[in-house]
Symmetry: C2
Subunit: 92 residues, 2 copies
């Protein structure tokens, strides 16, 4: 079985009432690398679950989440300016 | 003259004292697409100015900015969940 790993960045901007829930949900899939920003590798098979879960949690009228999905992270030149915040484990 | 256009995503997490300054600075280069998130095309020649400027403004001990630079946005599958916030013009 071939597992395709995608490189994913997610950012959200949601009503404060839902911040905790949204954050906790995305953390099940990706490391939390900065305030409201998640980044990491994810099996392609889990992408849909992340997307559907987000749609269920957030308010489509009020909240916003952006997701960039890449086939490979080799195209990204990633730079940190200032503090490199350590990824928070998905299992916290 | 060949102008190489890069596709850039920037997110920041800085002390509240510097939020306004950092936001205003990055907006000179990229559209503000979500709270503390910027995304867009940028001539390669301006990347260094953006990077250097950010280094000058933020506190290296306290603040954090992340920048992903891609040669092309064709590798990105970009999805919006919820509200698509309109890009704020760079010239506001």
């Amino acid at each position: 079985m071939v597992v395709t790993i995608m490189y994913v960045i997610v950012v959200y901007d949601v009503n404060v009432k839902r911040v905790g829930k949204v954050c906790k949900f995305i953390r099940r899939y990706l490391p939390h690398i900065q305030n409201s920003v998640f980044e990491g590798d994810l099996p392609e098979s889990k992408l849909e679950a992340l997307r559907v879960g987000l749609r269920n949690i957030i308010s489509e009228d009020e909240d916003s989440a952006l997701m960039w999905v890449f086939r490979d992270n080799k195209y990204a030149d990633r730079q940190v300016i200032g503090v490199e915040k350590k990824p928070v484990t998905t299992f916290l």
